[in-house]
Symmetry: C2
Subunit: 358 residues, 2 copies
Amino acid sequence: MGRALTITDVDDLAVGAWIIGTGGGGSPHLNHLNVRQVMSGGRTFEMIDPTELEDDARVAVVSTMGAPLVMQERLQDSRDVARAVEIMADHIGAPFDAVMATEIGGSNAFQPLMAAAHLDIPVVDADAMGRAYPEAQMTSFAIAGLQPWPLSLVDPRGIEAVISHVPTWKWMERASRVLTVETGSMAATCKAPRTGAEVKRWSVANSMSLAIGLGATVRRARAEHADPVEAVADAAGGRRLFGGKVTDVERRTTGGFLRGMAVVEGLDGWSGQRLELDFQNEWLVARLDGQPIATVPHLICLLDAESGTAIGTETARYGQRASLLAIPAPDLFRSEAGLRYVGPRAMGYDLDPVDPLS
Amino acid sequence: MGRALTITDVDDLAVGAWIIGTGGGGSPHLNHLNVRQVMSGGRTFEMIDPTELEDDARVAVVSTMGAPLVMQERLQDSRDVARAVEIMADHIGAPFDAVMATEIGGSNAFQPLMAAAHLDIPVVDADAMGRAYPEAQMTSFAIAGLQPWPLSLVDPRGIEAVISHVPTWKWMERASRVLTVETGSMAATCKAPRTGAEVKRWSVANSMSLAIGLGATVRRARAEHADPVEAVADAAGGRRLFGGKVTDVERRTTGGFLRGMAVVEGLDGWSGQRLELDFQNEWLVARLDGQPIATVPHLICLLDAESGTAIGTETARYGQRASLLAIPAPDLFRSEAGLRYVGPRAMGYDLDPVDPLS
C-alpha cells in the first residue's frame, strides 16, 4: 500500500525537488501552488513504491518540455498534463495503472501529481533521472536501451500530437523539441509507457521520497537555526564546494533551452576565487578559477546560503549569496553507458566527468 | 467505373503536373520513374471520378512536404507514402476506400499513385489545390472550413508522428512543417481524411485528368512540330505573357521552403523588357519592368520555349529560353474566402491579386 501525501509533503517536495533540479527542471513554485490548491479542495494523492507495481502494470511517464524561463512566466494547466496521458492511453488502447515523473528535479516533480489530479491513479515514488537533465534522452530508460516511442505532446493552444516511432532516443528528443519550440517552448508530454517490471529494474527508485526528505531537512534546519546547506549536504551525501556572491549571469533562450553562464565571486574562505557555472537549463559544469571541480552527471546545486533554497538557472541574479553543493550521481549515470547520455561530452564539453567528492 | 492509367498517361502526367505545379510541387522526374517501374512490374492503377465516391467513403489525402531542392536530391521510397496512409488508417481505426493528392502540381501528383502501389485502392481524379501552393493550409478543404486534423507524417529514417489536434489549419502547417524541417525538409504526409461527400463538394475535380491532358497536348505539339507553349495556353485557357532568357536566379532553402527570385530578360517581341519572378517553392508574383502582371492564386507557369517542359523554381538556371504562361485559378480560390488562404497577402505581399487575363 502506498502512502497519502500530506500538504507538508508537497511543500517539502517543492523545496527538495528544486535543489536536485540542479538549477533546472523549472521552478516548482507555480506547479506547487497548483497542487496545493487541488489538495485544499480535498483531493488526495497516493504515492506508491516501485516494488508495489505488478510486472505488467502500465506506467505513464510525464514531464513538461521547454525552457524554464518560459515556464516561469506561463502558468500551466494541470488538465494539459492529464490530457497528454489520456492521448497516450488512447494511442496504446489501454488505461494506465500509475503515473511517474520523467525527472524529479524542479517543477517536473509535480507533473505526475498534476496528471493524477484528473486521473484516479497513484503516483510512483521514482523518476528516470534522479535530478533534472536538459534533454529527453538523458534518462535511465534510454541508458537501459528501452523503447523510446511513442510520445504524446499537448500544447495549451490545443495542439496535440503523438510521435509514434523514432529510430533513436535522440530523435525523439529532436522531434518533440521542435514541436515544443514551435508551440512556444512549453508543452506537456507523456513519454514512452513503461511496464511495472521496467520501472522496478531501471527507474531511479524513491527519488520523490528523497526530494521530500531534502525539503524536510531544509525546513527543520531553518526551524533549528542550523545551516541548511550543511544539513542538505549531510542528508544527500554531498559536499559544499564554494560560497560567495553572484556577480554576473548571461542567459539566452535558444532552441527551446535556457543557456548561459553564471559567475560567483568567493566570500569568506573562498575570497578572491571565482566560480563559473555553465548551464543548459541545468548547471552542467562548475569551474573554480578555470579548473573544473564538478561536472554532469553529478548534481551541481546552487543554494541560497542563508535559506537553503535552490537558485535556478532562470532565477540566479546579481547579489545573491550562494553556496555550491555537489552530490554524486547514481551509479547507472556514471557507468560507461550512462556517460554516453549524460556525461560532459554528451552535453558538448570536451571534458572527462569530474566527481566532486573524489 | 474508373479507368486504368496507361504508361502514356503517367508520362503525360509527369509533363502536365509539372506545368501546373507553377514552378513548385517538386520536379516529378524521380517519382515518375518510380511509378513507371512499378507499372513495368505489372501493377495497374485505377483512376476514379470523384462522383464515383460514396458519400461516406473514406479518402486519404497525401502529399510530401518539404523543399523542392531537397526532393530533387533525395529519391523517395513509395513505401513511406503508403506508410503515412497506414498510420492514418490505424489512427482513425478504419481502412481507406481511395487516395487522392493534396496538390496535383509537380511531384505531388504522383503521391497517390505511390501510395496505391502498396494499397489496393483507387486514385481519385481530383486534388485540393488545382496546382501547387507552398503551404499545407492553402487548400480548397481549408477554404471550405473543413476539419484540419489529424495528419500523419513519415520520414525515411523511421520517424513517424500523428498530429491529432490543432486549433487552426495554419497551426497544422506550422506543426507539420517544423517536423519536416527537423527531419531533413522532406516527409511523406497523409492529411486529414475526407469523406466522399466532402471530396465531391470541395475538391478540385478532374485535376489529374487535366494534368494528363496538358501533358498529352505538349506531346502532340512536339510530334507535330507545333508551338507547345501556345498549345498548352489554348488547352488550359491561359495566355503567354512573356518570352526571353533566364539571366539570374537567387535561391535559398530556408524554413523548409525554397525561396528566391528569377530574372528573365526579354527576347523577340519582349526585347528590352525584364521579368522578375518571386518564389516560395512556387512562382508567386510576376513583375514586368516592376509592374505586377500576374500573382497568386493564378497559375504562373514558366516553360521551356522550345519543348514546353516546365521550369521549376529549383531547376531554373542561366541561359534557359523561357516563356511565361499564365492560367486563371478556379473560382473558389479567387473568392474572398479563397484569397485569405492563397491570395498575394496570404503569401506576405502587399498586393491585390492580378488576373493575367484581365
